[in-house]
Amino acid sequence: MSRERLLNALLLAGLVVVPGWALWADEPFTITLATRAVIFALAAVGLNIALGMGGLVSLGHAVFFGIGGYAMGVLASHAQSYTPLYDGLFTLEGTKAMPVIWLVAAAASALAAWLIGLLSLRTSGVYFIMITLAFGQMAYFFAISWPAYGGEDGLSIYVRNGFPGLNTLDPIQFYGICLAWLCLALWGHARLRRSPFGLALDAARQVPARVQAVGLDPKRLYLVALVISGAVTGLSGALFADLNRFVSPSMLSWQMSGEIMVFVIIGGVARLFGPVVGAVFYVALEHWLGGVSDYWQIILGVVLLAVVLFGRGGLIGLVCGKERPDA
């Protein structure tokens, strides 16, 4: 077993053991922190598909995170007020069922990613970054000026949404749901990396001209990567809103996009567990240092700087060294 695999296994074990301990020690707040970290990690797994595999530096992933959040907020608020979403030729009701919410969140984010990709992939480099940022800002201000769903104040949900057979109000059970999604996403990402699509996308990131010369269109590969990426991040947004029972435009802010990117970079771009390391590190730092000083982000900045300057593979790269290709 390679060093990185061992580390990954240890991380997964930690994600089971720590909340398990918290349950035993009756520390529900620790479980909530772990849930937050796992959801952030899921959001970052989404970005890692676009950024790590496709080299797409998107500063607009909060759009998908926020769309996922609002998918939950809109559906659940209609359900709790017993007003249909649409009442015309047919009636469209809201819902409090997580599986439906997830499906809507992922589908809506995928659609948004497709539209954004169609326009932004005409450019590359710094222009791509700026266009994705611009879409993020558009979505943010749209949400702020949309009074039907709370506008600037956001939207509160009284009771967490439900999942058949589980009590989602119980922190550990909700954590289990989030961890299951993270594991599923990591497994999917691992498969994706070794798939025919993954090979083509990886080559398209390195040498687009080569990919064209063998008969493939790099732009289409990027677009599909962005759609998958957006769907995963959108799903995490729905979970995040459910964790807080609240969604607001801040989920769509460019700071949020930046944070998702920070998770990936600190953990290690293109490393399978990079998002997990980054998100856990971030949440832990925020918790411990945030209590000590309001300026904890300075420490974060220093770590980020060190990682970018000295360890291109992020924290995982520092521990495990360079990644080897596996055929």
């Binding site: 083509a200 080569r210 064209q212 599909v224 290709p325």
Partner: protein, 249 residues
């Protein structure tokens, strides 16, 4: 089957005031190696870019397998079997040698939209990739990272990837670039064997290689073809000697 596999008709291309192609009409026939020679900056790579689809000509046509492909993008021409190699290696350096070859086979298969199966477990792709590596003498390096290959091996891998495309024509831009005498000789032998597979349009500076391989030679100077002929004709042509070969021939 038409005898002419590839044809350009009156290609014109200008970069601002610089006329890089001025009415270039050449053909590539089944079974031949047609070499394009010319001094630096003559417009050889520009010609190749128009043939392969990376550049759109200002006017003129490119025909491949009897079809006008001038408006088709690079990837569509590649899928028809137009296999090119680059003047400076364009390989996925972080991938293994086998992965680069698999990419070629994958592109030719036209089925990259598979997200869960393992590409290395696709036996059909693997067979194509491995046989191309075998022909290029790179099978022993299949699991090596491409960045770790020597320059000469990278040039061979370029050709091997082209081989995975079920090529109907090869278009090679200075495959010998940067090779020593030994490497050139090996690649020359390899290209000689490839000729039976598909005709080769060969841009090359290495005159030993060109004279050893080519059935026909065209000389490109300042965007114009100033002569086309057999090796002996070109060697003897006074205009060519003056414009390009100098005392070398």
């Amino acid at each position: 089957m038409p005898d002419t596999i590839l044809r350009t008709h009156e290609l014109h291309k200008a970069f601002g005031a610089l006329r890089a192609s001025e009415g270039i009409s050449i053909t590539l026939k089944q079974g031949e190696i047609h070499a394009i020679i010319g001094p630096n900056g003559a417009g050889k790579s520009t010609l190749i870019a128009q043939i392969c689809g990376a550049l759109r000509p200002d006017s003129g046509r490119v025909e491949f397998l009897g079809r006008d492909v001038t408006a088709l993008p690079t990837e569509a021409r590649a899928r028809m079997g137009l296999a090119r190699t680059f003047q400076t290696s364009a390989l996925a350096m972080e991938q293994t040698v086998l992965q680069n070859a698999l990419l070629g086979a994958l592109g030719a298969s036209g089925r990259p939209w598979r997200f869960f199966s393992r590409v290395s477990a696709d036996q059909a792709l693997r067979d194509i990739a491995e046989s191309a590596l075998h022909e290029a003498g790179l099978l022993d390096f299949a699991q090596t990272r491409t960045a770790e290959l020597s320059h000469g091996q990278r040039r061979q891998l370029e050709v091997a990837v082209a081989l995975t495309l079920r090529p109907r024509a090869f278009v090679m831009d200075e495959p010998m670039a940067g090779l020593g005498a030994e490497g050139s000789k090996r690649l020359t032998g390899f290209l000689d064997r490839l000729q039976d597979r598909a005709p080769i349009l060969l841009v090359e500076h290495d005159m030993d290689a060109v004279f050893a391989l080519a059935d026909r030679i065209s000389v490109l100077v300042y965007g114009r073809v100033i002569a086309t002929g057999t090796v002996d004709e070109i060697r003897a042509d006074p205009r060519v000697r003056e414009a390009y070969l100098g005392d070398e021939a």
